[in-house]
């Protein structure tokens, strides 16, 4: 039985996606074995629809089979996902991914709730479900989440969990040197490279420091290890990313630097707004300098766009810009302002503020 695309078929599917061609047309159709995928937006929509469908199945199950609803609904969700994969040849389509992961998670929940109440065992059960789902549908998100669950299941002190995350991230970073025949295995490593150091930082920093900044001018050496780990990982990721010419370590480096900057935010003693403006200007200056410097490729690295964005992704920068638009300070200054209370042509404004 063919239970998922062969590695060569997956590579052809990845090539079709990169070239924005349909995998159902020549020459891709001859090499993809009839597997069907979805583009990014459809995949997201299918994923949400699958989640809602599983939730509704659980509600119906709770009325029809009280006491066994989770097991039966979980099995039904897995059966539907398998039918979509084996019968309809769906791969990375979204809906089979959400049904598979919700079904397995329901079974994991059922197993955990019947055996024990320990949350660490629960994390191990959930991690196993995510791992099985991740390898079944070849989803890097599920495998990264399962790794986080297993770290939680270690029941280690925060420092231990944090170091475990950094260690996993480093192993993924080093293993990334090898290119797998399956593009999805490469992606699984990429996700670990990006997710684990951020998780490592969140685990190792104190809960209070996430809300109120630590005074690092009077901090102990142990406290300094938190930003130092992020910084060290960022340096290693940057070196490896530039050497191998891959994106995941560079993204990881940027996120680690952001974690480090957040951790050290109280170091200068400046107010929040002053810090935001100052560091924003510094980042702007660095980005502009790099962009200018790399306009002409330097050691084959360039700041120029090589491939045009996919049509469907071009709208993201527009949406991002619109999200930055400052809210009207007048509206914000009036606590009882009612957005829907005014006349047409006045932004809902009655002027009574």
């Amino acid at each position: 039985m063919i239970w998922r695309p062969a590695s060569s078929q997956e590579r052809w599917l990845a090539l079709a996606r990169r070239l924005r061609r349909s995998a159902r047309t020549a020459p891709f159709a001859e090499h993809t074995g009839g597997w069907r995928t979805a583009n990014v937006w459809s995949r997201c929509a299918f994923f949400v629809l699958g989640l809602v469908a599983a939730l509704m199945m659980a509600i119906i199950g709770s009325h029809l089979w009280p006491g066994f609803e989770t097991t039966i609904t979980g099995l039904m969700a897995i059966a539907t996902a398998e039918w979509l994969i084996l019968g309809r040849r769906h791969f990375h389509s979204g809906i089979e991914e959400s049904l598979e992961v919700t079904g397995l998670s329901m079974l994991a929940y059922e197993g955990w709730s019947r055996l024990t109440t320990s949350e660490y065992v629960g994390a191990a059960f959930l991690g196993s479900a995510l791992l099985i789902a991740g390898f079944r549908v070849l989803s890097p998100i599920f495998t990264a989440l399962s790794t986080l669950c297993f770290v939680l299941a270690l029941d280690a002190p925060p420092w231990g969990s944090g170091l475990a995350c950094y260690a996993i991230g480093l192993v993924a970073l080093i293993t990334g040197r090898h290119r797998f025949r399956r593009p999805s295995y490469d992606l699984m490593l990429d996700y670990l490279v990006i997710v684990m150091p951020v998780a490592g930082y969140l685990w190792s920093t104190s809960r209070s420091n996430l809300m109120i900044g630590t005074d690092y001018l009077h901090a102990s050496l142990a406290q300094w290890l938190v930003p130092a780990c992020s910084l060290a990982y960022a340096a290693i990721a940057l070196a490896i990313g530039l050497r191998r010419r891959v994106h995941a370590p560079l993204v990881s480096c940027m996120l680690c630097l952001a974690c480090c900057a957040y951790e050290l935010r109280a170091l200068t003693g400046l107010t929040l707004e002053a810090r935001l403006i100052a560091w924003g200007c510094v980042l702007l200056a660095i980005s502009m300098t790099l962009e200018r410097y790399l306009r002409v490729p330097h050691k084959e690295i360039t700041s120029q766009r090589i491939q045009d964005d996919a049509n469907s992704l071009r709208i993201l920068d527009v949406a991002g810009s619109a999200a930055l638009m400052p809210h009207s300070p007048i509206r914000a200054a009036v606590p009882n302002f009612e957005g829907g209370g005014g006349q047409f042509g006045g932004g809902g404004a009655s002027g009574e503020y």
Partner: protein, 304 residues
């Protein structure tokens, strides 16, 4: 590679063998983050220190900073050269600073008195003019956001969570705002011989606003029927637009918003934790998934 043109083949091989490596996306993310940091800082500055800053000084400093941000884009235009990504984001920062500046000035000096929201219309006009003069999609998005704010729709998707979401007034304003944006696009298409320059931006803004308006009506008992009818009409239009232009996101809008709207209506008529309510939503979701799959395959075959 006979099925690829030479340029695409060379480009693909270069990327695959990592002969050339572009950090364009990383730099773009860094530029976006820097703009977000600065404008958030300015926003807090305005909010927290209103009473401590001399209004005139602050308005002047912000205007000066905004002008400086506009300079690289103006310089590129005057020399007739393509604007760099950094200049594009600087222009965005400049436009955002202008928005903050004008909002602050209106709050301080109350130029428009009770009709304070007119400053949003001025912003929409100003950003619209800048977008066309400097050909910037990002600045146009600010113009459209200001226009939506003038109509009383502020906060983007966050508005969906608010208590005002189900008010009929919001739905009407959202649909009206979408209609104005489509008119703007039609005028642009008519005036500009090469077709609308920012067609995609207009279409996405108008589609989302119109769907939110229809969803708002669906949530309101008195306008539910009108809401469903408008929702279905919009879905048909969005799917048709998506299928004709090959823009998949419009197909997703059409199917996704319709499934959401019908589920909201079912949730209001039949209590959702009941078997019948859950079964109805399940049927809606399954039909939506089947329709989306069919349209997705058709779209791929037609625009391969």
């Amino acid at each position: 590679m006979g099925f690829l043109d030479e340029g695409t083949a060379v480009e693909s091989i270069a990327l695959e063998r990592r002969i050339v490596f572009s950090v364009f996306e990383e730099l773009r993310a860094a530029l976006y983050a820097s703009v977000a940091l600065v404008i958030t800082g300015v926003g807090i500055l305005v909010k927290e220190h209103l009473d401590r800053i001399g209004p005139l000084t602050f308005v002047f400093v912000l205007a000066l900073a905004a002008t400086a941000c506009y300079m690289p884009a103006l310089h590129a235009r005057s020399r007739g050269i393509a604007r760099s990504t950094a200049a594009e984001y600087l222009l965005l920062l400049g436009a955002l600073l202008v928005s903050a500046d004008l909002g602050y000035a209106e709050l301080q000096y109350r130029w428009f008195g009770a009709n304070w929201s007119r400053h949003l219309l001025i912003l929409a006009t100003l950003h619209g003019f800048t977008a066309y003069a400097l050909y910037s999609r990002l600045v146009l998005s600010l113009a459209l956001t200001s226009l939506a704010a003038w109509f009383g729709i502020e906060g983007g998707s966050a508005i969906m969570m608010g208590s005002h979401f189900a008010t009929p007034g919001l739905g009407s304003r959202a649909v009206l705002c979408a209609a104005v944006m489509l008119m703007w696009r039609a005028i642009d298409e008519h005036v500009h011989t090469g077709g609308a320059r920012f067609r995609e931006v207009f279409d996405h803004f108008a589609a989302n606003l119109a769907f939110w308006g229809a969803l708002s009506w669906c949530s309101d008992e008195s306008r539910r029927v009108v809401g469903i009818l408008v929702l279905l009409t919009l879905a048909w239009a969005a799917v048709r637009t998506g299928m004709r232009s090959g823009r998949e996101l419009f197909v997703v809008y059409g199917v996704g918003y319709t499934a959401l709207g019908l589920s909201i209506v079912v949730g209001q008529i039949v209590a959702l934790p009941s078997v019948s309510g859950a079964a109805a939503v399940l049927v809606i979701v399954l039909i939506a998934a089947a329709v989306l799959r069919h349209l997705h395959d058709q779209l791929k075959d037609e625009h391969r």
